[in-house]
């Protein structure tokens, strides 16, 4: 399959994200998706871009308390992915526009992905079905931070 030939994954650091995204936008790439994973160190965030049938993915590794700049000023469609990612995983994202303040999935939806993996395995810390929604540790802080920037 030609899948691998047309797809490259690039590891970048968080402070280079906006710069790289800007140059991708100028080169005519469009956003395909944003994807988060929980890892042993915190989160891994993947931004996939498409140009024609080729795909390019930028990969960030962020700590549980580290925040990621929003790319919504470059790609408006990213707002949906970033809001969802923040809602489900609790990844801190700075300056999403528009920001739906943890409301896109509804208040009662559990933030089940919002946890740090233990030793990279998946079943050590399952979320029981009857558990109350996991409080989203980052959201008030992130909101306060955002308020401060404005």
């Amino acid at each position: 399959m030609s899948e691998h030939e047309t797809h490259e994954v690039e590891n970048i650091s968080t402070n280079l994200l906006l710069q790289t995204v800007d140059s991708l936008l100028l080169d005519g790439w469009r956003l395909i998706q944003v994807l988060a994973l929980s890892t042993t160190e915190g989160y891994e965030v993947n931004y996939s871009f498409g140009g024609g049938y080729a795909m390019k993915t930028l990969r960030l590794h962020v700590g549980p308390k580290q925040s990621v700049p929003s790319i919504t000023s470059y790609y408006a469609a990213a707002a949906y992915y970033e809001n969802e990612m923040r809602d489900l995983f609790g990844v801190r994202i700075e300056r999403i526009h528009p920001d739906w303040h943890n409301d896109i999935m509804g208040e009662k939806t559990p933030r089940a992905f919002s946890r740090v993996r233990v030793q990279g395995t998946s079943v050590e810390r399952p979320v029981p079905l009857d558990a109350p929604p996991v409080p989203l540790a980052s959201s008030p802080a992130a909101d306060a931070q955002e308020g401060a920037i404005k």
Partner: protein
Amino acid sequence: MSGSPNAGPGLTVIPFGPQHPVLPEPLHFDLTLQDEKVVDAIPQIGYIHRGLEMLVEKRDFTDYVHVAERICGICSFMHGMGYCEAIETIMDLTVPDRGRWLRTFWCELERVHSHLMWLGLAADAFGFENLFHATWRAREIVLDVAEETAGGRVIYGSCIVGGTSTNPENETLDRCVKELSKVRAETIRLAEVFIGEPTVRHRLEKVGVLGRGKAYALGAVGPMLRASGVDYDMRRKGYEAYPELTFATMVETSGDCMARAKVRIREIDESLRLLGEIVARMPGGPVAVPVKGAPEGEGWVRVEQPRGEALYFVRANGKRNPERFRVRTPTFANIPAMVEVMVGSQLADVPTIILTIDPCISCTER
């Protein structure tokens, strides 16, 4: 609700959904209106969010296909196939020829069934009930073919990691092609009504226009993108038997609701033709390879669903349960473009606009 739109002077916020007569599925919008004109639309999801992406951690990777198929009951086969392909890329499995061609057969069958279903629902949305019933009657033939070849009407259950689980006889497939030719005749008849009828044209033409640049930049996919004049079809990238097939990509340029309808109607016809070709060229031999061991690594797969490009991502760590599964469904990609189109339209056109992106909320929320 903290995210509610600011209703200023002269503005009204009306909730649209979640239980709405036009939509079979719950989708909620806060529409901000100035008189009858929509000035802002904020989508609210979560009514069908199940969290099935996380279920991959509790299921064996070969069993998860059943869950992947149920991401959505409309494009179920392709969801199962996308997941299987991702696992196959990780494990370097090569699906035998007949398996690949059978999968392609079911993909195209699903496209026909999905587009016919959409045609009916769209007709129902603007109140043309006759057309709705006539389209769904034609669609039943497609479902019968699916049941005969795969074993299920909407959830096929025929895709497994390494190939397919069912292997219909060649005679069965030939008989199915004969049945499908009836659908083709019926579609041509229905298309005349859909494209030519003045009442339909009144509701669809010049409504919800999405420009070429906007469609591309906002990440629209599938018929939504092709109706705005972008020639983009994931099948061309070549997966399963598509590299060996030649097919036309349907592109329209006007970008309105009618263009989206035309793209889908022309795709039905092309897919039915393709189904005949697939059956005529169907190779023999086994349909699946045995799967040994457990996947380790990550796989990215993109396939063209009836609603557009879908992306599947699987990361596995050498255990029976993969670590993370992610699906980016076409409707999710189309929502920004849909909101863009809705802003500035008339309230009465909102149901038609929502319907013409062919939303699949179950996919979107997973």
